[in-house]
Symmetry: C2
Subunit: 245 residues, 2 copies
DNA sequence: AAAATTCTTGTCAACTTGTTCAATTGCCGC
DNA sequence: GCGGCAATTGAACAAGTTGACAAGAATTTT
């Protein structure tokens, strides 16, 4: 957090060109500009020059503060990720205390979905949601290692909680269940208007409340009622139903 | 002299196919090179020069045949999309004839998932799956309009089938259900190794059969058993989607 | 007050980018 | 044969890219 002696809010607009000499604030302004640009055009689609222009700083400042384009990119995650992770952990702790199985699963699903959905509908950080969505569908993300570094730990925690809530499920079922939740979440977060278009405006990811309600209901049902093959959790010969193709 | 004529014909075919003077063939080579590159680095992450180099053709040829980078990008979809759409339509026709509700829903889910999952595991066209995954999480996709043009029609068909199979569901429930299927599918298709890493190798998107089994089971359960909480999910205005800053 | 440090800035050069151009090649019907 | 035509080529273009530098301003330390 920026620790300025003076009130930062007051100065934010006033002294842009004048004599605002504050590293932390400049950094912040750059990061926010970068966040918006990266969200709109992707890592490769945006130039540091445009970020600099948007942040109203000279280009060289970006290299000075973040040591390059990728450093700036990582800085965004370093700023935002803890926010989400903490909220998820809190949600999981909540779920742990719930005795009823059905509600417990629901709370776990909520713990994963709600922080991100909320973030998306918050104007200020909605860009970050889209960056996140991009990152998971980019092979380079592995190279950058951002997801792994920031989100793998919480992923294990969630799956552990799921396994505890659904003890009769196999490891595979738990894993695929978690991946499904994530997929739905990411797809919704990344949405660029298609959901609203297809539903003729009836479904709107911006409406955090409604979206969360429907998605939680879906994934809760998926986790509670899905059986991989036939009846038991065992791996019988699967795929006996009609063969298309 | 039938024989001579046949020989001539044969030689002509061979010559045409071997010669670099074959528009269709060079087009194809360019498209395939582009597909691989776009999948790995995204639309903005790759230069036409690299594509040209990979296809072993001069750069100018790309612009000649496809009228630019974006034209080339669209050409990929024009080649691949019909394949998937047709398979889905076939799957839906299958589902339509199924009397049992539960099996019907399962078949619809399969009709959506299987063509894409199969494509992903096919080596030759696995790149396209990743391109598709990128496209849906790119705001520019709206600008390009590729998804809308090629996949919106089949989306309506699927939702129609879902509505018919689950008549008591609201339009919103059907829409979110479909979005969920798509989200899970896209996330799985786009996966860059995280699923396998998190599951310690137990879950592998490359394994088309197992993946389809688990995902179909999940989404089938989601559609069949999900009920929006209490029934009153229709919270109208919650957040004003007003001014940005 | 002077010096040292941190932060900011304009400018620069080497390099890519997507696209266009004029010229060339091979194939066809005349 | 010989133009007409589509396909191909290498070169050139203008615009934009990144990262670096040294010099200047602000802040802190001496």
């Amino acid at each position: 957090m920026a620790r300025t002696r003076k009130n930062e809010q007051d100065q934010k607009v006033i002294a842009v060109e004048a004599s605002q000499r504050n590293a932390a604030m400049t950094r912040s302004r750059i990061i926010h500009a970068a966040e918006a640009e990266f969200a709109d055009h992707g890592f490769d689609g945006v130039s540091v020059r445009r970020i600099a222009q948007r942040a109203d700083v000279p280009v060289a400042l970006i290299n000075y503060h973040f040591g390059g384009k990728e450093g700036l990119y990582r800085a965004i995650f370093e700023m935002r990720a803890p926010m989400i992770v903490d909220q998820r952990i809190a949600g999981l702790r909540f779920a742990e205390m719930e005795p009823d199985q059905e509600r417990k699963v629901e709370m776990i699903v909520k713990a994963v979905l709600v922080p991100n959905l909320h973030m998306r509908s918050t104007e200020k950080s909605s860009s970050y949601a889209r960056i996140l969505a991009r990152e998971v569908s980019d092979p380079k993300s592995h190279q950058r290692g951002v997801i792994q570094e920031f989100f793998d730990p919480i992923a294990y925690k969630v799956m552990e909680a799921l396994q505890k809530a659904l003890p009769d499920r196999s490891v595979e079922e738990i894993n695929w269940g978690y991946q499904a939740i994530l997929g739905v979440m990411v797809y919704t977060m990344a949405d660029t208007g298609r959901i609203s278009r297809l539903s003729d405006g009836r479904c709107d990811p911006e409406d955090e409340m409604a979206t969360a309600t429907y998605l939680v209901a879906l994934m809760k049902a998926a986790l509670l009622h899905a059986r991989a093959a036939g009846g038991g959790a065992g791996q019988r010969h699967k795929h006996s139903t009609g063969g298309e193709r």
